[in-house]
């Protein structure tokens, strides 16, 4: 008989109108890394929330070390030595690393927290597993990678033996990801067991021993990683074969469309230069990607290009027209469409209907108005056309409130609206963030199709896989500067990572 540390047997959980988990079985062997794979909405989070005591299953049993247990809240989970690193860290910014680690599990004498013993224990743990942290630094001052190590130390401090990692690599650089993988392997050597939630196939293939795949709340199967392939896993996850590598021809760049020269932008928040003297060109028929770790000036750069913020120096030229200080509507008319980074803040009016959102960039055009009155019939038929063409799914069609749509379909609606305007430049900022494999495949295909029609595409992405897959030219940005330009076919992910982390810099800057 197998030695299972955790068994979740025939778990079902329904929410009003949806069966989030339908007869799911997950068995975690002692000392293995077990990946849980599935698209958005496949039920991964629900299943883990049940294991962590946040939800109660409608049916099914949970066993720990072969004995049936009831986990009614996270305290029960902690008592069973189950710990979780959440995707969004649960740390207190103004506390020190040590305080964060012991918070909730403090040793108290006469009302005073005893930190000496805690410090010794944490230090021992961090040395044992190579988790390098500065115990006295405040969390707000340390890097995201270190914050994650703090979260891991929190679990270890509580003597957890089952560790759940919820999409742990989303915020890390390639080097940090490699480190994390090593740390996870160290844990299993110590007999700890790891549940690893992800939809990144590369990482799953690299680090896990077995994979359980969920699809639309149902259990698809559990396979040994060594006996499967990425293609096989994605087929299990989506239910059909998926094109993992973007199919595209060689780019045939034409005339320059967007020319950026010596652009600088001050950060409104921190009174420092967020974008420093950046110059580059995007031509017809090519996808240029700005790669970098989050928070290195990408947002400010895009805001200055699209007019959401003012540039402080330099010029931006679109199709020969200078637009450095032009209002947004003028840029849009000059030929810029924009898939924004934050689809809820900028991309959609969430309380408007889908059809109104689809008309958001064009409602004033002669086709949609007559003497200042909106032509609702035109808006409706235009929306219906886009919905059909781009396969945007929603509850009530054109009149669905944007708020009630799924993230993937909201993004599809934005992509439909922006690409259908048929403008020479598309600025796409993290167009696939948070989307599942099927939707990513679709959006990548659309962007490549636009490129092949001769559009200039400026892509900003934090996902290296997307950068490598999609772009014809890569510009790496680090603390507001373009530190290198690469051909994706002639560079490795590791090399890009060094530039992204600021460890290297090309002397000759990108063409200006």
């Amino acid at each position: 008989m197998e030695d299972y540390v955790i068994e979740m047997l025939h778990i079902s959980k329904s929410f009003p109108g949806i069966k989030a988990n339908d007869d799911i079985t997950l068995q975690l062997r002692r000392g293995e890394i077990h990946a849980l794979l599935g698209e958005n909405g496949a039920g991964k989070s629900t299943l883990m929330s049940i294991l962590f005591g946040l939800y109660q299953p409608d049916e099914g049993v949970i066993k720990k070390d072969g004995k049936e247990v009831r986990i009614s809240d996270p305290n029960d989970a902690t008592a069973l030595h189950i710990g979780m690193v959440h995707q969004h860290f649960k740390l207190i910014d103004v506390f020190t690393v040590l305080d964060n680690i012991i918070l909730g599990a403090e040793d108290v004498k006469l009302g005073f927290v005893q930190k000496k013993e805690a410090r010794r224990k944490v230090r021992a743990l961090s040395e044992k597993y190579g988790l390098n942290v500065d115990l006295d630094a405040k969390v707000e001052d340390i890097s995201v990678g270190m914050q994650q190590r703090v979260e891991i130390l929190k679990m270890l401090y509580r003597d957890n033996e089952v560790l759940i990692f919820d999409e742990p690599t989303a915020v890390l650089t390639p080097q940090e990801i490699t480190e994390l993988m090593q740390i996870m392997r160290n844990f299993t050597r110590e007999g700890k067991s790891i549940l690893f939630i992800s939809h990144k196939l590369n990482e799953i293939m690299e680090v896990s021993d077995r994979v359980t795949v969920l699809q639309k709340g149902r259990y698809v199967g559990t396979v040994n990683t060594a006996e499967t392939t990425k293609e096989e896993l994605s087929r299990m996850m989506v239910g059909r074969p998926v094109q993992l590598v973007v199919q595209k021809e060689e780019a045939r760049p034409g005339k320059p469309v967007l020319e950026v020269s010596h652009l600088s932008v001050m950060s409104k928040l921190y009174h420092r230069e967020a974008v420093k003297d950046v110059s580059f060109t995007v031509r017809e028929g090519e996808i240029v990607c700005i790669a970098g770790i989050d928070g290195n000036g990408q947002t400010e750069l895009v805001h200055a290009l699209t007019g959401l913020e003012r540039a402080d120096a330099g010029t931006v030229t679109l199709c020969g027209q200078e637009i450095t200080a032009a209002p947004i509507r003028k840029r849009s008319k000059a030929g810029m469409s924009h898939i924004p980074e934050d689809r809820h803040k900028h991309g959609l009016v969430l309380d408007f209907s889908l059809e109104q959102n689809l008309a958001l960039q064009r409602y004033y055009e002669p086709r949609f108005q007559q003497n200042g009155f909106i032509r609702f019939d035109e808006v409706r038929s235009y929306a219906e056309q886009l919905i059909r063409q781009y396969d945007v799914r929603s509850g009530q069609g054109p009149i669905t409130r944007a708020r009630s749509m799924s993230g993937g379909n909201q993004q599809k609606a934005i992509v439909a609206r922006e690409l259908d305007r048929d403008l020479p430049l598309v600025v796409a900022v993290q167009p696939t963030r948070g989307l599942d494999v099927g939707a990513i495949e679709y959006i990548h295909g659309q962007l490549v199709a636009q490129r092949d029609q001769g559009k200039a595409i400026l892509l900003v992405s934090l996902e290296l896989e997307e950068v490598m897959n999609l772009s014809d030219r890569i510009l790496v940005i680090h603390s507001g500067e373009i530190v290198g330009e690469f051909d994706p076919k002639a560079v490795t992910v590791e090399e890009l990572g060094l530039y992204m982390a600021g460890a290297r810099k090309q002397e000759a800057k990108a063409n200006g």
């Binding site: 959401l308 991309g347 009016v349 969430l350 409602y363 004033y364 200042g372 009155f373 069609g397 009149i399």
Partner: protein, 411 residues
């Protein structure tokens, strides 16, 4: 098939919104009735029968025609006087309700209606009393005064709007400031003027009635239908403005921009809408509505306006808030909720005139309704749940009747 679903869906949405408001109103009236019952049973000369009369008046005060002389029983029927007065009182409520609703739809809380209303009264009175009707036709003076009042209210709203748009000052604070500035400014303007009527020493002095200069809002025949009442053409103007605002907001390109800015300022900016302009213009329109309310109040011909407004702000400005809330900020619905609020006022008077109750009971009813209308989202959500249950039950019944013929047809 799909189209039918869409239509019935939007009808369902509307039904839920209206349903939520009606439930708030009903609970308010029932609470008031309970209160009347308690007060009646604990007061010596009212008792159960008096309480029953009170409850009937709360629900049907508008249709009360007094007491039968012989039997002393309450009589009900069409009462032109109460009806006309209800319409007269609802005029400023509809307009200040619009002032709040328009701003709400643009994402702004216009608590500045009292100030905009005062500026409307002030300018309308100044114009209508300063241009001698011996030289200019009173009709022209009336129009000038009305438009002047609207404009003054609009400009007053623009101040708060501009502060919000350009300096990001919370519009609530800006509105409260402009309210008191207006209150003091109006006092300042009139206290030195010769528009004060100081000759009737038996009562406190007031600004001359505009009828002194032969200027007054035309009755347009309404006084014939609703005899003995104060009603005038103002109510028709209020209804017309509500319809115009509704068309402007819901049908025009400009309205689309206002609503987009209101729902999500950042997305509007992203789409090339000049959000600052939208915010200022929305406050101008809102202010103009409150200004129109003030102008119509001043121009009724019978208004004795007491100019020392610095002591307190006019309640009618604030009452626009519940009117708009209850109407879920729909300009057309504001017509009805404004009339409903005026009706409660009339019911209160009838209570006082015909029974031993205090008229302020109706204020409690209004408060309960306002509280509940703030909860209307909760009530709406309850209706959504309820509706889903009902429609699920109905569709499963339908399916079983049709032998599951269309099962899965929706997919």
């Amino acid at each position: 098939m799909a189209e039918m679903n869409e239509k019935s869906y939007s009808r369902l949405e509307r039904r839920r919104t209206v349903g939520a408001s009606l439930i708030s109103i009903l609970i308010g009236l029932v609470t008031g009735s309970l209160l009347i019952l308690i007060v009646g049973l604990t007061t010596k000369n009212i008792g159960l029968s008096g309480a029953w009369e009170g409850i009937r008046l709360v629900f049907g005060g508008l249709f009360s025609t007094g007491r039968d002389m012989a039997t002393g029983v309450l009589t009900f029927g069409f009462n032109p006087n109460t009806f006309g007065n209800m319409l007269f009182r609802s005029t400023p409520l509809i307009l200040t309700g619009l002032a709040v609703a328009v701003a709400f739809r643009t994402g702004l809380f216009n608590i500045g209606a009292p100030g905009q209303y005062l500026m409307g009264i002030c300018v309308a009175l100044l114009i209508s009393l300063s241009i001698p009707s011996s030289q200019v036709s009173p009709v022209i003076i009336w129009f000038l005064a009305f438009l002047g009042g609207m404009l003054a209210g609009g400009l007053w709203g623009a101040i708060s709007g501009a502060l919000k748009a350009f300096l990001n000052i919370n519009e609530v604070i800006a509105c409260i400031m402009t309210n008191w500035i207006a209150a003091n400014l109006v006092t300042l303007i009139f206290s030195g003027s010769n528009l004060r009527n100081l000759t009737e020493n038996t009562k406190s002095a007031y600004i001359y009635k505009t009828s002194v200069n032969n200027v007054a809002t035309a009755k347009l025949g309404l006084d014939k239908i609703f005899s003995d009442s104060q009603v005038n053409g103002g109510i028709l103007i209020a209804i017309l403005l509500a319809i115009l605002i509704s068309v402007l907001l819901n049908r025009t390109v400009f309205g689309f921009e206002l609503r987009a800015t209101g729902s999500n300022r950042y997305a509007a900016r992203y789409a090339g809408i000049v959000d600052k302009r939208s915010i200022v213009l929305s406050m101008v329109i809102a202010g103009a509505m409150a200004g129109a309310a003030g102008a119509l109040y001043g121009l009724s011909g019978n208004t004795e306006f007491y100019w020392s407004t610095y002591q307190s702000l006019p309640g009618v400005g604030f009452n626009g808030i519940p009117v708009a809330l209850l109407a879920s900020n729909s300009p057309i619905a504001v017509i009805f909720t404004g009339m409903f609020m005026a009706m409660l006022d009339i019911s209160g008077q009838q209570l006082k005139n015909l029974t031993g109750y205090n008229e302020y009971l109706t204020n409690i009813i209004i408060s309960v309704i306002v509280y509940l209308s703030a909860f209307s989202l909760v009530i709406r959500n309850f209706l959504v749940k309820h509706d889903d249950g009902v429609s699920r039950a109905l569709s499963s019944l339908g399916n079983s009747l049709r032998g599951n013929k269309r099962k899965g047809a929706g997919k």
